[in-house]
Amino acid sequence: MAVTTPTTPSRTGNGMGLRFSGAWLPALVAIVTYLTLPFGRPGRPFLTIEPDLYALALGAPLLWIVLLGAVASFVVSLLRLNTAVRGDVLIATGTVGLGAGVLWFILSATPFGIGALLTLAALALVLGHALSESGRIQGDAFIATSILVVSLFVILFIIYPLFTVLRAAVIIDGSFDLSQLRRTLTHPLFFFLDNPRSQIDEIGLTLRWGMVVAVLTGAWAVFRRRSVPVVALRLVLGGIAGLIIGVLLYGRGALPTSLLTVAIVAPTCTLLGLAFALLGQRARFKPIRRSLDVISVLPIITPPFILAFAMIFLLGRRGIVTHGLFDMSTNWIYGIPGVAIAQILAFTPIAYLLLRGSISSLNPALEEAAQTLGAGPWTTMRTITWPLVRPGLAAAFLLSMIESLADFGNPIILGGDRNYLATEVYLSLTGRFNPNEAAAYGVVLLALVLGAFFIQRLWLGGGSFVTVTGKPSSGALAPIPRVLEIGLTLVLFVWTVFVAALYISIVVGSFAQLWGVNYTFTTRHYEDFMRAGWPVFLYTARVAAISAVPAMLLGFLVAYLVSRHRFFGRRFVEFGSLLSFATPGTVMGVAYIFAFNTGPWLLTASATIIILALVFRNMPVAIRAAVAGLAQIDPSLEEASTMLRARSLTTLRRVLFPLLVNTLVTGLIFAFVSAMTAVSQVIFLVSPGNQLATVLLLGWVEQGQLGRAAAMGTILIVSMLFTILVVLGLAQRISARVVRVEG
């Protein structure tokens, strides 16, 4: 059946193109699953064969169109047409089938069954083949399907859940209503300044701060002989800055508390991170680097609130240091000081990791060049070093800021009489059962985080977040001045001792009869853990492992698509992964509850929803790792493979995977470990039989089962450390073998 169209020349005997479309197989699968498997399900269980819920039994016109689309796709894919023309026809049939299916679910709000899942996935594959063969998307069916699926995932598991949060904040009982948002934002729990019961006059003090700072900045501008409009502007800006300082200092409620904590934590983390990075890259004393490597791994392997809870034992009212050593009895760690310290301990290593990259990518030749051109050390610092380190500092600052705002574990343990935005999300949903209020807090938190993100991007200009990679330059770096090195080493020493004391106190606590009261040795807590925690621990490990594989694969796929292909929607996919990276865990957790509790996407109370949450939470980490890895590989290797008629899946498998084993395994391990230690994003999602170790651990801490919690914490930390060391060691050995084959 040869069809000749006027626009496309007829094919010769050995013409290029495909005789059949590759879409025939997925189309056939779609037809078979449509006919043999149920389209809906009655409740949560997936594999109930309910005769009423077969697509044919449901008899909805839209479902007939799904079948029609699948059958048409199958027939068309076998027609001997010009490949591109056939592709266009298949796009039409595939879209009709897929679209009708999706529309039916949206309209009928039936929980999807396994048949629907498979049929629609197969139709997406049909569409992928069609888009590729028609030439609408450059790349083969795999690339086209991947683009399609990744975009769908971003919509379904990132954008849509966040949209439900926004919706819940402003739509109450089905109508648009800003009253909840207003009530939340004017509530004393959120923010208030004037407190009639306090001894001090908050408003007056705040105004005084505004005036003082305004006068100071104005005076400075006059001193620098600026023009009148500039002085006036400085005066106003200074006044605003002063008022903000005043509000943060004297205001109460979640907003000023969270922001004040951020204002303490983010600069401190950035500075400490910079100090450690300088020390690590330019210190003369080598063991310092080794110890910094260990420090940088600690927060990844430690559930976020463990340090907070160890701090109570060191620094609390009855703390070993505060009470035992100095005989003090204060509650000072409950509140901003304690939360800030815990966050600084947890997030400085993250800042360090970021800054290590930008310090090590500093080319010493640049500094030398500046000095040979007659620039003094300070001029060099200001004109060369600072602009080069600035993006790293900004990134570190931003990340500490996001982490601090999103942190949930530390405030819930050490918050004391202060409340935080992230914990209010949790408490308003679980305690006060006000989903709209939780959504309102979520919106505020999201706005703050995304605002910070976009301000940073404006400041640094362009540069998508997935392409931020630094390739370390070779060459010896000039050592830092000796005085500075000694000073920084001292800081590092104090830090190390403190962190070590915290970790030791956890281990000690796990063996102490009654922590804080009776320090007789016992293994009772480990027995308790084995009984009550071990099954949960195993289950968590299983869920984390299951989630790590798709997180890594998806992250790799996104990185590959974004960095190697140009396609419509690329920015969107980048934006989606940015969003899932920046969104605070509690907000994403609430979003998943809103999005997946009813309708076609009924997923709550299943392992699936936990795994999905973890996959999309950890995907951005994998993306970053994969982008960095791909940047080291010449794209012409992939093009060479394509030119040798390999499809992209073959190219990925035979060329990129072997070259990226190390990166991929590292990504996998980190996805696994961070899934093991995640709390905020899964705390809403656990259900009977789907309990997670960290959530259980937090519950134990809350209920005062501290010995047992310490035992589980110890086991968690030790096993994660073991995983990282052993598996990463293995990965390095494998990649070493690949290198040996090369040379």
Binding site: R317, G431, W515, G699
Partner: protein
């Protein structure tokens, strides 16, 4: 690509084929040790597996409401009575009359108008670490707690998440009347170091000396003292309210038969004895045939108030109290 299609199909089928058998999904609000002891004993008695999650009673009510369209849990075990009452009145839990109904202590049934199944009873009290109190005098009454000398020394649960704390609020409002009651609540708030989300956690804090005074159920205090914490437990002189913990069948429970089997089992004397023997829980158990644990606080020695369960369990009243506490008390900086 072809192979990938087939692999995907197979993987999806495997992944989704997690069929669920009958088991009890338990929402468990009392002490963790009790919750943990229930599963093995129940499975041994009936052969039905049990999974639980420990959630404070307020949070539990929130969860049941949130999931009412597609319930996850079958039974809600323990926790203060008012949320059980609300769950019944809201229709998210359903009343089930167990075969042991006649064996349940009649007073417990009558004060709550037989609106839910009583599981145990416990009274509010002070749990005090005299060591941590130092030279300060022992507080004897509710009013003593408002004395500024106890600033930063008191821990109590958060009323928005813990039923224990709500019972405390309701007690104060009943003993002192609305106006004085709120003033007292405010006075205590100024001295509170920490609100915990779990009802039993304040005793832990007191036990370790993080605070000196914990306001919570006396049976929890007794438990901590038994564990070795240096704690004294008593009831303040103005009188204390009490709770009648409940056990409820969730409406539209996914495993209804198993749920009923569990409720039947949980109300037997043998099952109730587990609380004291294995569960570190010393409440008065509701079945009159249960041998009460020797450590269980004796109600005859406590100045119990006439707790009006009907009024204070009413959702509207409850919302009103909690909102007022949140807006007018909790928001006051300390």
């Amino acid at each position: 690509m072809k192979r990938l299609t087939l692999v995907l199909v197979a993987a999806a089928a495997l992944f989704l084929s997690h069929a669920q058998a009958q088991r009890v999904n338990l929402l468990c609000s009392p002490d963790l040790a009790w919750c943990e002891a229930l599963g093995p004993a129940f499975t041994e008695a009936t052969g039905i597996p049990l999974e639980f999650i420990r959630v404070s009673s307020q949070d539990a009510l929130a969860r049941i409401r949130a999931e009412s369209a597609n319930p996850v849990f079958d039974v809600w075990f323990g926790g203060t009575g008012d949320p059980h009452l609300i769950a019944m009145r809201d229709g998210v839990a359903e009343m089930y009359i167990p075969s042991t109904w006649d064996d349940i202590i009649p007073e417990l049934k009558s004060v709550i108008n037989e609106e839910y199944i009583p599981l145990y009873a416990g009274a509010i009290g002070f749990v005090i670490n005299e060591e941590a109190l130092g030279d300060l005098p022992l507080p004897r009454s509710w009013r003593d707690l408002t004395d500024p000398m106890y600033r930063g020394l008191i821990a109590m649960p958060d009323p928005t998440s813990s039923g224990t704390a709500y019972t405390t609020l309701a007690t104060l409002l009943q003993v002192f009347g609305e106006e004085d009651g709120w003033e007292l609540v405010e006075g205590i708030h100024m001295n509170v170091a920490q609100y915990t989300s779990s009802g039993s956690a304040p005793g832990q804090l007191a036990g370790r000396g993080e605070v000196a005074i914990a306001i919570q159920f006396m049976h929890d205090g007794v438990k901590f003292a038994a564990q070795g914490f240096p704690l004294t437990v008593f009831a303040p002189e103005e009188g204390v309210g009490y709770e009648i913990g409940g056990i409820s069948l969730i409406a539209n429970a996914p495993n209804r038969d198993a749920a009923i089997a569990f409720i039947e089992w949980a109300l037997t004397p043998e099952a109730q004895a587990i609380a004291g023997e294995l569960g570190d829980s010393y409440q008065i158990q509701s079945n009159m045939n249960t041998v009460q644990h020797p450590l269980a606080p004796n109600f005859d020695e406590i100045n119990l108030i006439e707790y009006d369960f009907d009024r204070w369990g009413d959702p509207a009243v409850r919302d009103q109290v909690l909102t007022r506490w949140l807006n007018d008390v909790f928001a006051i900086p300390r």
